[in-house]
């Protein structure tokens, strides 16, 4: 009999306990956030510290705005009280946390909300790379120099199959590699366009402005690889041979009669621009004056310098190949 009474008591206790859930617990929306000012793609960490059966966060950006929840905007479910997120666009966003509790079968639902405002800035002004993307079919990259200067070195002509088309330094497109799409570039005071041709024969003033408003000036200098415009050795005219793969390497082919003494020959040459200097090793060469021993391998070093900045230089090499016939 005692056993029956014991069972009855247990049954009542279970019944009472089950009835307790008929009223949903009062939810408390409470969060901690790692910080409130972020850069693009930086991780925001939100820890839920309140009371809830379910937690949802509306980050506030596109399609996730709590104020527009009646217009199909939704939040993201929080697992294990930790929520991480990152914004793809700059702006000021209202982050809303919704804590909810419910009874069985959601007969009763209770909500509580809290919010925090975060600011996302995009302050990228760094140029990773600059290129001329259509040097015929090639993309030629500029070199990053000191003091936010960039140096583009272009060939005068390139070898393409059997032809040697000229490269026009005054009509080149430009491409900028910048980590943020929101960053704006202007060239000589006008908005940059990736389909416009720019005259690179003069230095370009480039201004990069981040979405946050920070401005950073750069300068792009362009020089051509120096070449021999003409080359004569002991009366014979040399032929310049280009390299398809490397615009800075040339071969000068000269054909001389068999038995010609080339051990102390004085070549006559002109370069493509008067400012270009010609060296063998570190010794400057003068046309019609400097004697050279062509029985050994001779490699001329040609240096072209920007008229606007002597630190901007390009170097090319010409190796002389003599044939006897």
């Amino acid at each position: 009999m005692k056993l029956i009474k014991l069972l009855q008591a247990t049954g009542i206790a279970l019944f009472v306990i089950s009835c307790e859930k008929e009223v949903a617990e009062t939810p408390v929306a409470s969060i901690t956030i790692n910080k409130t000012e972020f850069t693009i793609n930086e991780t925001m960490e939100i820890n839920f510290t309140g009371v809830a059966d379910q937690v949802t966060v509306f980050p506030g950006d596109n399609m996730q705005n709590y104020d527009l929840r009646e217009q199909s905007n939704t939040g993201l479910v929080v697992n294990k009280k930790l929520f991480t997120y990152a914004y793809a666009v700059p702006g000021v966003f209202k982050v809303v946390c919704v804590a909810s509790t419910h009874t069985e079968n959601a007969a009763e639902l209770k909500y509580d909300t809290c919010s925090v405002t975060v600011t996302v800035t995009d302050d990228v002004t760094e140029i990773n790379r600059i290129s001329c993307p259509q040097v015929r079919y090639d993309e030629v990259f500029a070199e990053k120099m000191a003091d936010d200067n960039w140096l583009m070195i272009l060939p005068r002509r390139i070898k393409l199959g059997t032809s040697t088309p000229a490269i026009n330094i005054a009509r080149q497109r430009l491409r900028f590699y910048i980590p943020s799409d929101s960053t704006k570039v202007s060239i000589d005071g006008k908005s940059y366009s990736n389909t416009q041709n720019y005259d690179l024969s003069v230095p370009l003033d480039i201004l990069v402005k981040s979405n946050a408003g920070t401005e950073r000036p750069y300068k792009l200098y362009t020089v051509n690889y120096a070449e021999f415009a003409s080359f004569k050795l002991l009366g014979a005219t040399g032929t310049l041979v280009r390299n398809e793969y490397d615009y800075s390497t040339f071969v000068m082919e000269v054909t001389l009669p068999t038995g010609t003494d080339v051990s102390n020959a004085v070549p006559e040459f002109t370069t493509t621009a008067p400012t270009e200097k010609v060296y063998i090793g570190d010794k400057e060469q003068t046309s019609g004056t400097s004697a050279v021993d062509f029985t050994k391998d001779v490699i001329y070093r040609l240096v072209s310098t920007s008229a606007d900045n002597p630190a901007m230089q390009a170097e090319s090499t010409v190796s002389v190949k003599i044939r006897h016939q």
Partner: protein, 570 residues
């Protein structure tokens, strides 16, 4: 009350009597334990089979095409709606709890875990005779496990960035392992592949065909180096890749010390030899194979070929000469001279039960012939094909409804959609039973080695040699229809673009496009442009600087209590 007392007394007696029995204390005989499970070569081989089994699993392959192909710009998918995990994934609008992101993570760690079992326990093997063939047998099992572990970690690091490097022997006290950096994971992968290269034969053939050999290890090492290098920036990675290409393609000898980079090891050479089963304490001195740091690696340049021929140099003309290229992907082309590593699927001989060595019908699903209302998970389109092949003869590998397929069958595909023949399984090669996968999946091909070599040469300023390699591959492709078009020599950027074009055409629809775009550092540019042109904008939401890697699955963050940190931007 008496009854209750009796019940209690009876229960005590029962427990007491049962407790008297000592059968619980007896040793169980005939069962495997942790100590004896790995004590023979046969058992170690069984454990290795378990590692290969992960490659053959449906999940591994399902994840590979989803991440490698469906997220990129060569296909449209049938499951791109935001209501499902797959749609969220390919739209780059997923949550960190996305099931495919979790699936890929878990299946690759499954592989790592199984490979670790082999590697950690190989030292327990006891041989009847310690002679060269027996020791080599263990060395080759260990070498394959290292290759496979590297493959799984490579999948992980290229998908998630730096991931936790699991200890080879797992203990309950260290179940949660923090993430290593991507550079550390790559270093770990490289070490495995370098060691596998000296442990494995150049290639496995005949009954052993399908096992990873030295060729697979070196090819994957080249790819791993390529993924760490940046196009346009000269680096040691490009230079080493070029050196490996000279060895693999041109036959320039390479020795153990060079490929191992043994000067970076903290280990003594003799200890190293014992660890990798290049030597054994029980091995009689007079029979020993004397490997040293100057031992030359086994030659690979004559092992593989770009020609569409079988391992016995038989032309793959089973479906006609014009279909020799796609025959590489069919039964006649299994383990052909152009195939370096395949995931092997075998149809059960009796077709009944025991489908242990088969995947599901992934290729049948991807090329839904005779099923015009089929699920068509992915397909391509005319505009994609024209930009992808640009007049290349490999365009002939793309088929539409009512086309005549290589085996003479008529294509009964979804009208208006295009499908690559690389996914097709000829009728007579189809598995007998519906859920089976009748053909092997080519994972690493010699053509890719050639193109990796070409790219490394171009990055190292060797333009002429790069052009030679890329045109070698193009000339082989030209045999499909007798085309004579070759690439034209030019400056660095022009050559790079031509090599990338050749890669895209040669390796199209082999489930690697997305990762290739990421490592070329132009995923955002290409995928966003692709998405912008589509009605559903699939790809347009790709976030530059974030979506190049996927998030660590949320469950991993949760169960680690924050020890495992999330990737930036998630």
């Amino acid at each position: 009350m008496k009854i209750i007392l009796r019940i209690v007394a009876f229960s005590f007696a029962l427990v007491y009597l049962a407790g008297c029995s000592d059968f619980l204390d007896k040793d169980v005989l005939g069962y495997s334990t942790e100590e004896n499970f790995f004590d023979t070569q046969y058992k170690l081989q069984t454990a290795l089979n378990g590692v290969y089994d992960v490659l053959q699993s449906d999940m591994f392959n399902q994840c590979d095409w989803r991440f490698g192909e469906a997220t990129a710009d060569d296909v449209w998918g049938n499951d791109e709606g935001m209501g499902r995990s797959m749609g969220e994934l390919v739209q780059f609008r997923f949550k960190t709890s996305n099931e495919w992101i979790r699936n890929r993570y878990e299946i690759n760690y499954e592989g790592v875990h199984r490979a670790n079992q082999v590697i950690a326990n190989a030292h327990k093997v006891k041989l009847a005779i310690y002679d060269e063939p027996s020791i080599r047998g263990i060395r080759e099992i260990l070498g394959q496990a290292k290759f496979l572990r590297a493959l799984f970690y490579f999948n992980l690091v290229k998908t998630y960035g730096g991931v936790p490097i699991r200890p080879e022997t797992e203990t309950m006290s260290k179940l949660i392992v923090p993430r290593s950096t991507a550079a550390e994971v790559y270093a770990y992968i490289e070490k495995d592949l370098r060691e596998a290269a000296v442990m494995l034969p150049a290639i496995f053939t005949d009954a052993n065909a399908g096992k990873a050999g030295e060729g697979a290890a070196v090819a994957l090492l080249m790819k791993v180096l390529m993924y760490q290098a940046t196009p346009g920036e000269r680096s040691e990675k490009w230079e080493e890749m070029m050196r490996l290409g000279e060895f693999f393609v041109d036959g320039k000898p390479m020795n153990y010390g060079e490929i191992l980079k043994f000067n970076t090891y903290q280990e003594e050479w003799n200890d190293f030899r014992l660890r990798l089963w290049l030597d054994h304490k029980e091995w009689k001195a007079e029979e020993k194979e004397k490997s040293s740091l100057t031992t030359t690696l086994r030659e690979l340049s004559t092992t593989y070929s770009l020609a569409y021929v079988s391992v016995n140099n038989r032309q793959l003309n089973d479906y006609g000469a014009t279909n020799a290229y796609v025959a590489q992907f069919y039964l006649p082309g299994e383990f052909c001279r152009g195939s370096i590593f395949e995931i092997t699927f075998n149809e059960s001989k009796d077709g009944t039960g025991g489908d242990l060595n088969e995947g599901d019908a992934i290729y049948t699903a991807l090329f839904p012939n005779n099923d015009i209302y089929g699920a068509k998970p992915m397909y391509t389109r005319e505009d994609i094909v024209s930009s992808l092949f640009r007049g290349d003869p490999r365009v002939l590998t793309i088929q539409a409804h009512m086309a005549i397929l290589p085996d003479g069958e008529m294509a009964q595909l979804v009208p208006g959609l295009l499908f690559p023949l690389k996914w097709y399984t000829p009728l007579k090669e189809m598995p007998q039973y519906g859920g089976d996968n009748g053909k092997n999946r080519r994972l690493i091909r010699f053509a890719e080695v050639i193109l990796m070599y070409a790219e490394a040469l171009n990055e190292c300023g060797e333009g002429a040699r790069a052009m030679e390699q890329v045109n070698k591959n193009r000339a082989q492709a030209n045999t499909i229809n007798g085309s004579g078009t070759l690439y034209v020599a030019g400056g660095y950027g022009y050559q790079r673009d031509q090599i990338w074009q050749e890669r895209r055409a040669e390796l199209a629809f082999e489930w690697d496009r997305f990762f290739d775009l990421v490592r070329q550092k132009r995923a955002a540019e290409v995928i966003k442009a692709f998405g912008l042109a589509r009605d559903n904008k699939r790809g347009f939401y790709f976030r530059k600087g974030v979506n190049e890697i996927f998030p660590i699955p949320q469950t991993e963050i949760d169960i680690s209590n924050g020890v495992i940190k999330q990737n930036p931007g998630y």
